[in-house]
Symmetry: C2
C-alpha cells in the first residue's frame, strides 16, 4: 500500500525570521531555499512582498535559482478594508512577485475583526473571499489561505470562525491552513474544532500552522494530521516569534518514522540532522543540545547503566536508530559515567584500560575537573591527554614558557587596524623558541605564533587548522571574576578534535586549550614521542623512562 | 468546587543531572532543593545513594536543611537478582539515606529482563514485589515504583507489563510511575496503555515520567493526567539525558492556567519564571530563548503587525498574561519592526520620535548594524545611544583614546597570578586621564581602569556595576577571523541595562561595549550633559549647540 502523503510547507524564511535573534540576509534566504529544495520540502514561503525591500529582492532573485522540487510561496494578507482587491498595494505586490503560489492570511477571530480591523464581520468575509478570487485570477496559480487565530476564533464564536473558512472556499482557495497563532491551544480543543469544521465545510483541504507557546506544537500538529489535515506549516529548528513555530525536524521524523506517512522523497529523511545543523549555521545560532532527533545530545548517553545496556542492544535506551535521521550515538564521559562508558569509548585505542585502577583514577580526575568548570564531553583531545597521564603515556612534545598579547590601538598603528600581536615562547628539547605573529583577535594570533614556533621542529603542525572557537562563562554569579571555559576545535589530518581550557582570564584559557591541541596532535605521531624518549634517555631523566621501550 | 490536586515530583537533581553539560556540585544540589521547597514542589528526588559519593553526602546534608513543604526522595532500583533485599548493597544504602520516601525502578519490558538482567520473567516480578515490601518495612515510609520502559514493555508484551505493575501493588507500593524511558511513545499509544492497565489494576495510583525524544513530552504528560495519573515526574527546564525529561515549568503552567488543576500552593505559579532562571544560573547554562512560558522571548514581539495589535489588546497575540508566570512582555527592535515597535518602546522617553523621519533612519541603522553582527534586542543601553544620535541628543561625556591589556605570565610575576593589567586613556573635556588597574580577566580589568579614570570627575560611576558578560561568535564559518559579539550587562542605580560590541577582537569588542555602558549611564544625568554643553559652548563648538538649551 502506498503511504499517505503529507505536504510540507516551510516558513523559516518568513515566520521563522520573526524569532528573537534571527536575522537573515538575502544570501542566507536564497541559500536556505536551495537547502530546502535539496531535501525535498514541497513549499517554501519566501517573505511578504511589499513589507520590506529585502523580501521584494528575494522574489526577484529566487527566479534565477535552479530549483528541482520546491514551489516558492509569497505571503500576504487579505486586502485592506478601505480598498478593493485590484487597487490594493500588497495584493499588487503579491501578483508582481511571480511566485509559484500565494498564501494570504485573514481574520477568523471576532475579537480581531472588531478591535484590530475595526470593521463589520460581513466586510471581513467579503475581504477573504474577494482577495482569494482576485489572486487566483490575477496569478493563474493556486492560492492558500491562513486562517489566523482559527482556534481562538472558534472558541469565541464557532459559527463565525467556520463562516470565514467557507468564505475562503467560496473564493476558490486550494488549502485552508488552520493557525494557532498565539500558540496556546490544547490538543483536545484543537481536535474538537477541526472535527466541527469538517462537518460544516466537508470539501475543504486543510493545513495546520501552530506555535509552541504551550510546549505543545509538535503534538498539536500531529493531532491535526490525525484529524485529516494534509499539509504542515512550520520552520526548520522551530525558530519563530515568541516560543517559535512548530519544529519541522520533529514533525518530519515523527510522521515518517513513527506514523508511516510520506513527506520527503524516498531516503531524504536521512538528511534531517544535516539540514538542521546547516540552518543553525546560517543563522549563526547554536541549537539546543537536546533538540529531538537532530540535536547533538539526542542520542548521548551519560549514565553508566544506560551506556552498558546500549552497548549490548541500542534499542534498550534509544527510541529510533540515530542513523535513520543522520544523527549518531555519543558516549559521554563524566562523573556519572561508569567504567563502561570509558571502556566503550577507549578500549580500541588503549587496551591497557582493562586495568581498572586507571579507569577509576581517570573518572575521579574528570569529576574534579568538571567541578572546576571543565567539560570533557566534546573535548576528546584534552580527554586523551588526561587518559595518557594516568596510563603512563603522556609525553609532552614541548614545554610552554609564556605568551604575551599586544593589542595596538588604531590611533597609534593605523596600518595594523584590527590586528592583534601575540608572542609565544616554548621549549623543544633543550631549545628555546620565541615567535611572534599577528592575527584577527588574540586566539588567532596566539595560534599563529605557536604554530610558527613549532613548525621548524615539526613541519606536520602545518596541517593543524583551528576550525571553531567558543567561550562560555562557567559561573556567572560572581560578576567577571567568573571563570570562562574556552573550547577550541582543530582539524588535523582529516580528524576534528576539541580541547578545553578554563581560567578567569579568557586569554589564558585559550592558550591552555591551544597548547593541549598541539600536544595532542603531535602525540599522535609516535616518532616524535620516540625521539623525545631517546633524548630524555640520553639526558639521564629517569621518571619518564619507566615505559620507554 | 476545590480544584483537583496533581502531585509534582522533581527529579532535576537525579535524572536532570544525566543531561549533557549538566554538572551540579553538592552546594548546587542543596540550593536547588531549597528553591524547589520555596516554590512548593511536593517531592524532590535527590540522587541515588551508593552510586557515587556526592549523592551519599547529599542525603546526609539535606537533613540539616529547614524545609517547609517538600519531601526528599531517595532513588534506587530493585535488588540484584543474585541477592535478597536485606543483603542488597543499594537497598541498604536507601534505608541508610533516611529520606522521606524512596522511589525504586524496575523492569517492565521483557527485552530488558532477558537482555539486560538476563533472568527469568518470574524472578523479575519477585524482585519488584520483595524490594518494595522490604523498603516499606525497613524505612517505615512510603515507597514509589518507577515502571521503567512501561510503554515499550506494554507494546512488546502487555500482559507481562501489567503483571509487573501488579507485583508492585502486591508489594505495598504507594504510587506506580509509568515511565517512557526512551521518550518515543506517541500520545494515543500512551493513552491506550494507561486505559488497559487501569482496567486490570484499578487500585493503582499512577504517576507519569516521560522524556522528550519525540518532542512530545509535555503532550504525553498532560494526556496521562487526562487518563487519571495524579503525579508528574519531571525536571525544571527539561534538563536530562538525551533530549531531556519533561519540562516541569511547561507542565505547571499548563496544568494550573489551562486545565484548572492545583499543583503548587496558592499564588506560587507567579514564581515560575524566577525559578526557571535561577536553575539555569545554578547550572551555568543559558536556556533557550523560546522556552514556553518562562523564556526571555516567550512574550517577545518583533513583527510590526503584532506589536501594534498587542499595544491595543495583549490578548490578540498572547495566549496568557505573562505576569501570571512572572514573565514580562518585550518589544523587539529589528529590521522587521515597524515604527510602532519603536514608538511603543520609546514614546515616553523621547516624545519627539513622533517625527517619522528619525524613526525610519533609526530602523535603517539598526538594520545595517544587525547585518554587521550587532543585536539590539537586549542591548537597551547601546540602542538608546543609537536613538540619541538620530534625534540630536547624543552627548558623549568623555572620549576614549586607547586601552592596553597586559597579561603577565605566572613565571615572571607569581604574585599577580591570574590577574590581568589594563590601562585606559580617555579625555574628559580638555583633560586627559590615564589609569591602570588589575582584574580577573581583561574585561574586569578594563572596567576597573575605566571606572578609575572617570570616578574623579563623575563619582556616580561608583554605582555602575558589571553584572553579566557573554560572548558569541557571530559568524563561525570563517575560522577565528569571525567576529565576536560581546554583550555586557551593568546595573546602575537600580536599573539593569545591556550594551553590545562587535569586533574580530574580543577585547576591542568588550572595550566598545564598556565605553557605551559608561556613556549611557552618564547621559542619564542631565547635569553632566548640561555641563558638557556649557563647556563646549564656551569653546565655540557649533555642531553640538543646536539643541543646547
Amino acid at each position: 500500500m502506498a503511504k499517505k502523503k503529507i505536504e510540507i510547507y516551510d516558513t523559516t524564511l518568513r515566520d521563522g525570521n520573526q524569532g528573537e535573534g534571527v536575522n537573515m540576509s538575502i544570501a542566507d534566504k536564497l541559500d536556505i531555499t536551495k537547502e530546502l529544495d535539496a531535501v525535498g520540502v514541497d513549499y517554501v514561503e519566501g517573505g511578504w512582498p511589499g513589507s520590506n525591500p529585502k523580501d521584494d529582492e528575494y522574489f526577484q532573485k529566487v527566479q534565477d535559482l535552479e530549483l528541482s522540487h520546491v514551489k516558492v510561496s509569497a505571503f500576504g494578507s487579505t486586502h485592506r478594508a478601505d480598498s478593493e482587491p485590484a487597487e490594493d498595494f500588497f495584493l499588487q505586490k503579491l501578483v508582481a512577485a511571480k511566485a509559484d503560489i500565494t498564501c494570504i492570511f485573514g481574520k477568523t477571530w471576532d475579537l480581531h475583526v472588531e478591535q484590530a480591523l475595526r470593521i463589520a464581520p460581513e466586510r471581513n468575509l467579503e475581504m477573504i473571499q474577494n482577495s482569494i478570487a482576485f489572486l487566483k485570477e490575477a496569478t493563474g496559480k493556486p492560492v492558500f489561505y491562513d486562517a489566523e487565530h482559527f482556534f481562538d476564533g472558534f472558541k469565541s464564536d464557532s459559527g463565525y470562525a467556520i463562516a470565514t473558512v467557507q468564505a475562503a472556499v467560496d473564493g476558490g482557495v486550494s488549502r485552508v491552513i488552520l493557525c494557532d497563532t498565539n500558540g496556546g491551544v490544547m490538543p483536545h480543543e484543537l481536535a474538537h474544532a477541526i472535527r466541527e469544521l469538517r462537518k460544516e465545510v466537508p470539501a475543504v483541504k486543510l493545513g495546520i500552522h501552530v506555535h509552541n507557546d504551550g510546549g505543545l506544537a509538535v503534538a498539536n500538529t500531529l493531532r491535526a494530521i490525525e484529524e485529516g489535515a494534509i499539509q504542515v506549516h512550520g520552520t526548520i529548528n522551530g525558530i519563530g516569534e515568541r516560543c517559535g513555530n512548530v519544529d519541522l525536524t520533529s514533525i518530519l521524523a515523527n510522521l515518517e518514522l513513527k506514523m508511516g506517512y510520506e513527506c520527503l522523497p524516498e531516503g531524504q529523511i536521512r538528511g534531517l540532522t544535516n539540514l538542521s545543523r546547516k540552518i543553525w549555521e546560517f543563522l549563526g545560532m547554536q541549537g539546543p543540545n537536546g533538540q529531538p532527533f537532530v540535536g547533538p545530545s539526542a542520542f548521548a548517553h551519560k549514565g553508566g547503566v544506560h551506556v552498558s545496556a546500549v552497548q549490548r542492544n541500542p534499542e534498550t535506551y534509544e527510541h529510533i536508530d540515530p542513523e535513520l535521521v543522520g544523527n549518531s550515538r555519543k558516549i559521554l564521559i563524566s562523573e556519572l559515567a561508569g567504567g563502561s562508558n570509558l571502556k566503550a569509548k577507549l578500549s580500541n585505542r588503549y587496551p591497557e584500560l582493562e586495568d581498572s585502577n586507571a579507569v577509576r583514577a581517570i573518572l575521579n580526575e574528570v569529576q574534579d575537573r568538571e567541578h572546576a568548570g571543565y567539560s570533557y564531553e566534546n573535548a576528546d583531545g584534552s580527554f586523551d591527554l588526561v587518559v595518557r597521564r594516568h596510563i603512563g603515556k603522556y609525553r609532552p612534545i614541548f614545554e610552554p614558557i609564556y605568551y604575551r598579547i599586544y593589542s595596538p590601538s588604531n590611533e597609534e598603528h593605523p596600518d595594523s587596524a584590527g590586528l592583534i600581536e601575540a608572542s609565544a615562547k616554548i621549549k623543544v628539547g633543550e631549545n628555546i623558541e620565541l615567535c611572534a605573529a599577528e592575527g584577527n583577535g588574540p586566539v588567532d594570533a596566539l595560534n599563529r605564533a605557536l604554530q610558527r614556533a613549532l613548525i621548524e621542529w615539526f613541519p606536520v603542525v602545518g596541517d593543524l587548522h583551528l576550525s571553531d572557537y567558543s567561550v562560555r562563562v562557567v559561573n556567572s554569579t560572581e560578576e567577571t571574576a567568573a571563570k570562562v571555559r574556552v573550547y577550541l576545535e582543530h582539524t588535523f589530518q582529516g580528524e576534528a578534535f576539541g580541547t578545553v581550557g578554563v581560567n578567569v582570564d579568557i586569554i589564558q584559557a585559550s592558550w591552555n586549550a591551544l597548547v593541549e591541541a598541539y600536544q595532542y596532535a603531535l602525540m599522535q605521531h609516535q616518532e616524535f614521542v620516540d625521539e623525545l624518549e631517546e633524548t630524555k634517555g640520553d639526558a639521564g631523566s629517569s621518571d619518564t623512562r619507566q615505559s620507554a621501550p
